[in-house]
Amino acid sequence: MVQTPPPPDIAQRLQWLEDQRAIVRTLHAYGHTLDYGDEAGFIDCFASDGELGWSMYPQPLKGHEQIRTGFRRHTHAPDAWHKHMLVQPQVTVQGDSALVLSMFFRLDPYISTAGPEIYAFGRYIDTLVRCADGHWRIRSRIVEKEAARAEGPALARDHGTDRALSAHHKGAGHGH
């Protein structure tokens, strides 16, 4: 005879809602910190063994130091104004791990149209973990860039001379 598991109690239901909220907060923080150059805040979005798969690099950035280097090569305000906008996160929590599928688009200013435009859109595939301090951090972010303008944003420029991460890619500022 199959036994039906007991329904979750109030504390479990509350915990589920809190987890969802905390996970989405981390995802939102990723965009804010990247756009405004909050390096410590950005790094704090990732687990110490976190991986970040930006399309500009052939391999995922692994661990805080590589992610920090990637962050420093990316553009930020006030040198370049852009918005990493994340919408419609689908969050599946299983214990201390979560899978999230969300849509993103990035807004940038363009000279050719004399206005803001959508630079790119796509999907984030994220795995987050509940860390020892209770906060949810990204263990893995895969960025699927599905569409991008051929023209680069007006204010994007290569910030770095660091060649350690990629000997091939020259388009810094477009990580997503």
Partner: protein, 184 residues
């Protein structure tokens, strides 16, 4: 502590009871409803609903316009703004980061404004809202302060609309879309 770390780490205490934890979630939802009501009210001309987003002593600093303080000035600002059906636009707010401390909340969120142009819909502007909200006597969270930061703006006026009023903030927001820096 970095700004974002503040939002990540101050919203829930380590020893909160069930009632407090539920209250925090309800507060966050109530704050979101006020942020959403701002856009709906402004876009569709819902004057009373929009005014109800604000405390009596609230301040709003729209770039390029006179600083507003209190309901009477906010109402005048609302009436000088475009609304549907005369003009269709969307004030979209996204990625809100909410930090609640008792009866006060600080929120950082991204915004984009969508408008109609001769060649179709387009993004007129984007930027960031810096907000302070308070829990009012009736339990509703209302804006006490909204300081929009406009970061990029389209030079072309939308269908049926005027260009944004000239100001230092607007000239700065045009920088990224001009061959020459108009503010230089």
């Amino acid at each position: 502590m970095a700004l974002i770390a503040h939002y990540l780490h101050t919203t829930r205490g380590p020893a909160m009871g069930i009632e407090e934890r539920l209250r925090l979630l309800e507060d966050e939802q109530s704050i979101l409803e006020t942020l959403y009501a701002y856009g709906h009210g402004l876009d569709y001309g819902l004057e009373d609903a929009w005014i109800d987003c604000w405390t009596e002593d609230a301040v709003l600093d729209w770039p390029g316009r006179a600083f507003m303080r209190g309901h009477a000035e906010l109402r005048a600002g609302f009436r000088s703004h475009s609304h549907a059906p005369a003009m269709y636009h969307k004030h979209v707010v996204m990625a809100p980061l909410i930090a609640i401390d008792g009866d006060t909340a600080t929120v950082r969120s991204m915004f984009a404004r969508l408008d109609r142009y001769p060649d179709g819909p387009g993004i007129r502007a984007f930027g960031r809202y810096r907000d302070t909200l308070v829990r009012c006597a009736d339990g509703r969270w209302r804006l006490r302060e909204r300081l929009p930061e406009i970061e990029a703006v389209r030079a072309q006026a939308p269908l049926g609309g005027e260009p944004f009023p000239d100001s230092a903030a607007m000239r700065k927001a045009l920088v990224g879309t001009q061959e020459k820096n108009p503010g230089a």
